[in-house]
Subunit: 409 residues, 2 copies
């Protein structure tokens, strides 16, 4: 007998009919003799409704009260799903985050899980019940309700799976797995059977919005096998685990991209210690998140410093840089908000030279000019003009044969 | 400095605008230097929406899950009201029933309060905060969410007032107090400044649906002064307390009535011990609630046994009685579902003879035939034909001068 944690997002529980569908899915999984814990989000639309109500009350509601309000969303879903399970003859029991109890710190609206008490869950499972837990929420030592922030239900599911040493954590969503790239851009994109945690982190942070980064980090840390699959259609989905020696590793797992980037460059910066901080400090202070950072070797006593931000922050960042430029005695500030980032991701590239060369060659053949390059152990990111996004993704998908099953290493 | 518990019902918090109005009301009360605890219900309509969702899941949802579901209604309101208070510059802190903690038994959907932990409330009040508590809900020793049943928010308010030894518990509602009778029937009906717990119990159970009976019982038991007043207009409302020797006691406080009655009579019942039980046992067994019961002295070896039920239960009760009649060897069963009950209520009648005579005389002058009579220490109820309801109420209102301030005793 195995133990599985299922997680269903807001779309999967978005209506009474869909909740019944989830109940059937759970019952079918349970009929194989396994123990099931289900983590659910608020019904789609509910969180937005509550946030709108809050903003009618207060321009900037206190985060403590926001958490009290938002936590009701998942509480409604756990009760409804338990009822649906019972209606289908399956004993079930619901728990809020506070009841389980999922202990968090007191960072309201973005709390972190500290501990989970699994006693009640274990005794319910032993009594033959399906346990339904509210995702996204927890409780502090003092008894205050907290929420885990966006994608928090995934984190709840992974944390429960880790605490209970579950055999697998299944994240049911509206896509049937992780793809080599976005099928809307490249119709030949292929569903991956497996992907490593590291690759998934790079894919997620680069814009393939299947799973929340935090839950993948968490799963990797506690070695919880994660599976992403569709709640609307059957299929094995994609399993996310540590790389295993016996597994055939593809060179490249997929191509991620991000449309919403803008880049900024301070040119002719005096090349001396502390300059990077002087440039990025004020930007961070303004709560602007920086993505890629590139600084090349300097030609003379000055250098060029480039970084990318979300396109929404472009104007604000530009204003900040103008001031910094003057203060530093740099030459000028340049920027472009019509750029995108495209990344090759794959643990295979660790041990293989020539990936970057193959990538740049393919792009050159298509006449795509590369504006920035940044690399990590398992990814290569480039910045290109916005107009090349689709062409670059398709070119790389073909160049690395991603439409075919992986080659053996 | 005094301590007050305010309670606002679903209509009073039925929209963002109304919640802001409540916030202003609380802030105004607090500006007098008093400590305020606010108990709120779910926004009007919310409970019905949740119940409808539940019934889409299960014909008869488990009461445990029903409580998990319904408790979200008040949780939304406490968060929104706290935000509204904070937006107006008033420090506030919200608590669910489980957080406060309002300990109840495990009779889901109709739980009874066992204990309240007032530590957090007291420390919040000491820190200058308004404490906002979710009405209607509690938590069991095992940590399960419970609800207190219809009117449960009133009970929460009274229980908190009792636990904190509050100076007064103010129940804000959509009427501005308790009236001598329904103003829709008798336009001269007058708001009472005071009424005793006992009178209020008789008024409430007789159809003046201002306060839930349980909360009045509770307030009486713990001697919590209750005040019923309007959340939409200013005014002192009606204070419900124990009778005080110094207070001028009116003979009659008010006239209650109930439109939805039906009466049933078993005629020619053998007059021997156990007959009343043989008649009412099967009725109670069928979950039919019986209101008035009258049995007169018997003329010969038989007697007539009459009782009233809710009009919806009339047919069912009639069928049951037919069977009982045969079994008992009684003569016949008669019934009438076109009757109403009208009651005079007043602690003053305890020590005054002649109230009944004055009542019957007034009715006789108007030619109103009395079909049944039943009395308690502080009320006299009569059953008359439905068509006489308004005339009877107005006649009695005038006969006892209820449109004028009470006479001294």
């Amino acid at each position: 007998m195995a133990l599985f944690v299922h997680k269903y997002g807001g779309t999967s529980v978005g209506s009474p009919e869909r909740i019944k569908h989830v109940a059937n899915n759970v019952i079918q999984a349970r009929s194989r003799g396994d123990d099931i814990i289900v983590v659910v989000s608020a019904m789609s639309g509910e969180t937005n409704r509550l946030v709108a109500l809050a903003h009618e009350m207060h321009e900037r509601p206190s985060t403590r009260e926001m958490d009290v309000l938002l936590a009701t969303g998942e509480q409604v879903t756990i009760a409804l799903l338990s009822m649906a399970l019972e209606a289908a003859g399956c004993p079930a029991c619901s728990y809020t985050g506070g009841q389980v109890r999922i202990l968090t710190d007191d960072a309201h609206t973005k709390a972190r899980i500290l501990d989970i008490d699994t006693d009640r869950i274990r005794s319910d499972l032993a009594a033959g019940r399906v346990v339904v837990v509210a995702g996204f929420q927890g409780i502090t030592e003092a008894g205050d309700i907290t929420t885990l922030g966006r994608g928090g239900s995934d984190t709840t599911a992974v944390a429960l799976a880790a605490a209970l040493k579950a055999d697998e954590c299944l994240i049911y969503t509206d896509v049937d797995g992780v793809y080599t790239t976005d099928p809307r851009i490249e119709p030949k994109a292929r569903r991956l059977d497996r992907i490593t945690f590291e690759e998934m982190l790079e894919m997620a942070s680069l814009g393939s919005k299947v799973l929340q980064i935090r839950s993948v980090e968490f799963a990797g840390k506690y070695n919880v096998p994660l599976r992403v699959l569709s709640s609307f259609s059957a299929g094995p989905g994609t399993l996310i685990t540590y790389e295993e020696a016996s597994v055939e590793k593809p060179l490249i797992s997929g191509i991620a991209f991000n449309r919403d980037e803008a880049k900024l460059t301070v040119k002719g910066v005096p090349d001396k210690p502390g300059v990077a901080y002087q440039i990025l400090g004020p930007v961070a202070h303004a709560n602007i998140e920086v993505d890629m950072i590139v600084q090349n070797v300097s030609e003379d006593a000055t250098t060029d410093f480039t970084f990318t931000v979300h396109r929404n922050d472009y104007r604000k960042a530009l204003d900040i840089l103008q001031a910094t430029c003057t203060a530093l005695g740099a030459r000028e500030v340049a920027g472009d908000d019509k750029i995108v980032k495209v990344s090759l991701v794959g643990v295979g590239m660790r041990s293989h030279a020539g990936i970057a060369a193959r990538m740049f060659e393919a792009l050159a053949w298509e006449g795509i000019n590369i504006r920035m390059i940044s690399t990590s152990e398992i990814k290569i990111s480039i910045v290109v003009d916005e107009k090349y996004l689709e062409l670059a993704v398709r070119t790389l998908h073909e160049a690395f044969n991603l439409d075919r099953e992986p080659e053996a290493v």
